[in-house]
Amino acid sequence: MSDPMAEIRASFFIECEELLESLQDGLQMMDDGSTDSETINIVFRAVHSIKGGAGAFGLDDLVQFAHRFETAMDEVRSGNFHPDSEAIRLFFTCADILGDLVRAARDDTPPPNDQIAPVLEKLDLLVGVEEEEDEDLDFTPMTLSLDLGDTPPLGLDDAGALADLPPLTFDTPVGKGFIISFKPENALYSSGNEPLYLFRALRDLGDLSVRCDISGLPALASIDPNCGYLSWALTLVTEEPEQAVREVFEFVDGLCALSISPLTDDNSALPAPEPEVTYPEPDVIPEIETKAAEAPVTQPEPAQTAPAQSAKSTGAPTQPRATVRVDLERIDRLVNLVGELVINQAMLSQSVVETGLPPNSPVSTGLEEFLQLTRDIQESVMMIRAQPIKSLFQRMGRIVREASASVNKEVKFHTDGETTEVDKTVIERLADPLTHMIRNAVDHGFETTEDRIASGKPSAGIVTLSAQHRSGRIVIEISDDGAGIDRERVKAKALEKGLIPEDAQLSDGDIDNLLFLPGFSTASEISNLSGRGVGMDVVKSAIQALGGRISISSQQGKGTTFSISLPLTLAVLDGMVVQVAGETLVVPLNAILETLTLTDQDLRQLGPETHVVQIRGGFVPLLDLGAELGYREPETSYVGATVLLIGQEDGNRAALAVDAIEDQRQVVIKGLEGSYGRVPGIAAATILGDGQIALILDPTDLVTQASGRTRVRAFPKALAG
């Protein structure tokens, strides 16, 4: 049905993401001082597996870079090179570029070539001075043959096999000759290649002996004339470098299972045991096309089995827990269904109450249990959508490294609680605001290194990113140990920009919150890092769009902490249920600052048809929710009316008059756009316990759309919170 190659590619890239993650982990451990060979092996193995897989797909850029990186890591692994923090930082950069290359290959976008060359240069400088031998000569990528003609779509396991290729060793001496095992795939023949010519070319390089392995040949009756069954074991005695041998096979790259290994004293005796080693089970060979991906996994050389095994055993701890990959759509459907179950349950409870059954009747107790179960199911289903926030944190690690390098500050990055599980959509949509905040922290949060030393702090600043569950919400904190918010400067800046009046009396918290005002940026000079005109107000609106809240706490000289609180999922929402003109509406709780009952003193008439509410010295426009939604005409008097004070992203406030506040509860969000279309002022709908649909208000949209009776004016000194 679908292109099998595309499927394999897709799973390769998924594997790559996982490998990149363990690569980051390993480097982080090395950065934290681990010199454990297991850690180094994890890093090496990750790079190697990416290279191996990339080779199979002909992703040359990726292979080349991964190879250089791998060579360097091999130096570390073999103990020839002991990386200092400088080197590890370089390795981090390499890992970032490797990730970029993987993504470039996946999305078919141009690779970041301009970054590669300088990094490779540094890498060579770093590792090359330690080691005189040119490691490039030992390049032995694994070529994998994927014969699409006969191959059924390969599942994920096969891609796993691609990635699980054991590493090759590179520390064997060069110069004596090579043992080559060569197993052409059908595609090699069908593309017009001929092994004989390859062997002739090899013969020109040195003394060649050829052994044909016919163990794969089936009985005459079952031979498919279109298939090749033969494989060869060749011994080449030559002074030529391996690169020369490899070039011979350049044009059949990807069309055969090829392994080239240096001839050593142990195995120069000859390829007598070779066929058995290469293909432990001769009967498997006729099926080789379907198992193409597995074939090259077998290691031809006894000399190489040891490192291969050690890599396997060390790889074990990083093995991810057993997981199932499920289409996101299916999970969403399940989430929806459970949402309906919750609604149904609520309806059932309500009708049981209406029948007037005594509270301790079997029906009521059974229903109670049902309620508990439904809640548990809902929670479990939501958890399926959740994934550890680790991947996001790792991306932020990169931001810290890049940002600190570009402003020349030494910054360490710590994470905490990276196994905290958060809804997938939330993670995706958090990336931008977090990036911005991390950049801000590095750029504005920290003093210069000299200032830090002068004030008795360690020269390296620390950015800590932490995540945790707290009372049904996710709390993400970004803290730095920098200078803290310079409130004098912030206030001066706000005055200068006309964001606050001259005589404003602001508490420390108020001043901190000024950062969230649009058009506010504290950096006196616009660095190339942050301060591009997008300020914290953008961050704040992005967080609020996720149903979250953000707050700052800062201590002069000690540092600043931004705290983001997010709902566990986007499928449910905390709302206040209100009555307006006989309709039930839900107002998102995170938009409501407070609720109050209007008195005569609060209410001021502004224009002929508009009112403002006076709240603690500030004036807030009054909106009649019923009138704004077109349910009724504006009331004659609002004295005694219940109003919700709505705070907006841009710091504007509005007072919404409603008839009554009924309840505060979690509601399941149902989109309106799919079935009807967008409704101004309305974000979505939900189904209440009685089966009725209630609309969920979009306060920002409502206030911006509000017209006629009341005009909303930006009231600059009004601050959220």
């Binding site: 929806n336 077109g630 149902k670 009807y676 409704v679 009725q692 649909i693």
Partner: protein, 155 residues
Amino acid sequence: MTDIDKQTDPASIELLSFRVGGQDYSVDIMSVREIRGSAKATSLPHAPFFVKGVINLRGTVLPIIDLAARLGLQADTDKDRNVIIVVDIAGRTAGLMVDAVSDILAIPSEDMQLPPDLAADETRTFVSALTIVDGRMIRILDLDTVMPPQGEEAA
């Protein structure tokens, strides 16, 4: 029964006929998802006059169109006896509020007539064909014109 009819007479179209505003209308039965009783609709702000609002159809949000209002007819005042026909319109699902469902009819396609061109009458644009059953004229509703275009609502 419906299946048999379809097989024996491929040239006929099955229609679900109903009464709205004292007139007989019908829709192609293949576009009908279900018929259900009326429920209290939650009204939508800034909606066209003929959109009654939305109701909960087993967990999904179903927009309800007051067909009498849409066609410019006098609506039956006894709202409780109204019936909702859930139909698929161009990939979207909507409920048509009608007075009562009458019958399922199999009409040979040659018995269908194009409505005469009377520019003064607004309802004409909603009718794709006419036919006569037992002396009554049945109007065949052009469902695509009933729903407001998507752009109209996306204010």
